[in-house]
Every structure is written in C-alpha cells, then in structure tokens.
Symmetry: C2
C-alpha cells in the first residue's frame, strides 16, 4: 500500500515535527582516540533542520574534541514501547562551528544559564556551538528515509 | 561542603540507578567515514554497568559499522528542565561483540520482536549486540565523575 511507504517529503515533515517538540537531543562527537562520544543537550534554538545551536562550556571535553574534529551528529528521539515499532528517531549528520562572538552569545543567553556561566553572557567559559546538518536519517515504523538537507 | 562533592562511589551508585530505570538508551558508533552515529535502543538486559545487550537487525548499518570498528558508547539520560542543573547523564565507553549463537538469541528474544524478525528467534537477520563497558562518565548537578568499570 503506497500510503505506508515513508517518502522523503513525509520523512522531512515528520523530522521537523520531532525537532519542534523536542526540548532535548543528543550530540555525537569523536574523541581524541577516534571513539564515539554522546552528550545530552538542550534544544534551545534551531533553523528548520539546517542549523541547531547549543550553549556549552568552552573548557568542556566536547569543545576540545570538536576543535580537533568538527564532525558531529545530533539525534532526536521519541521512544515508544518496545515491540510496537512506534519509536521515532532522527539523526542529523554534519559539522559544528564553535562561536564566541557577542551576537551568538546573546542569541542563546538566558538568565538560567548563569548557573553554568557565573560571569554572565561574556563569561569566557561560555560558548555557542552551531551544528550545520548535511544529511538526515529518519526512522519510524520499521522504515528509514535518508535525505539531504538543503 | 563535602556532601556536595560527587565521589566515584556515589557516581557509580547513581549510574546503576539510572541504568535500572531507563527503558531506553543511545548507542554511539563510528561510521565508515569516521563520523559519529547515534541510534536509540531499548535497554532490555544488562549486567550492572559492565555489559548491556541489544537486539538488532544483522543487515543494519549499525552492525556493518561495528564489524569495521567495534568501539562504541552507550548513553543513558534523565533530562531535567533547562537551567536547573538537574539533568543526569551517563556515558559508558567500550566495545561491542556481535553474537548470533542460539543462547544469546534466546536470552534476548521476546514475541514482540517478531515484527522486526519475522522468521523468529533463528531469523538470520536477528542478532545480539553485547556492549562491554570499560569506563563510565556520570554527570549530575554540574559535576562529572569518570570511573573504570571493573
């Protein structure tokens, strides 16, 4: 039945919906020794599926890793119960740019962030990660759709 | 105040608690081109923090990647609200063994899995991943504790 086939268009539509409703996502990076790393991140700002911005500590292991290898993935998930095939997952693959300019800092700043960056918006330990997606891989109901991000 | 310091012992205790209550976790692997990949997995069986077993499709990209590079991480998360510092995250780092023996198949099998492996417990497209952790990295309340898994 054609209605059951996950088209690229439908995968992109559902991916956007998943990103919109996710307050949380996972950032995948490569450690110094080439092994994979994952860290949970708040999804505070995004531009469609193209760009996702995160705030993080400049001194963090994540930032050190990204300085050496800027390749990353961002994963969004809506987990269903096992054996029902209802879980949705979206993996965006791309690269990360580390930003410390005033505009980027202000764009992501919220007063709640002061617990992480006590010196405020200009805290040298505060930086912004801009993830730029190149491809998406959306999974739902036992089907996968891989698409380019334009 | 010493009560606020996250000791290794306390990090391991809280890590075990997080794994116990998580029905879902994230598997990080390395793609052919060396970039990071993430996939959501059901947490169906584990042995403390040492071993975690997953079932997956033998034909999946994940299995192909792990045949080339067996290094992986498994991430467990309990996301709190932003700006509260309450989120908990555990990253276990280690390697994955791909198993297709009868014992491993039966150990993880449930009838609900038939939607993924229509031929049942001996379906050639059904395999078991055994993740063996070497180190743990637990995060809570702005503190990190890194520990060896013994």
């Amino acid at each position: 039945m054609s209605g059951n086939v996950l088209t690229e268009q439908e995968a992109i539509r559902q991916s956007l919906k998943l990103v919109e409703k996710s307050g949380f996502c996972l950032l995948g990076t490569i450690a110094d020794d080439g092994s994979p790393n994952i860290k949970g991140m708040y999804n505070v700002k995004h531009e469609g599926l193209k760009k996702i911005w995160f705030s993080t500590n400049t001194s963090s292991r994540r930032v050190q890793q990204l300085r050496k290898d800027d390749r990353a993935c961002v994963y969004f998930v809506a987990a269903g119960r096992p054996g029902k095939g209802q879980s949705k997952g979206l993996m965006l693959s791309g690269t990360v740019e580390i930003l410390q300019d005033i505009e980027s800092r202000k764009m992501l700043w919220s007063e709640g962030a002061r617990i992480y960056y006590p010196l405020g918006v200009m805290d040298p330990d505060y930086c912004v990660l801009c993830f730029k997606a190149r491809t998406g891989n959306f999974y739902h109901k036992l089907q996968n759709a891989i698409f380019d991000i334009r």
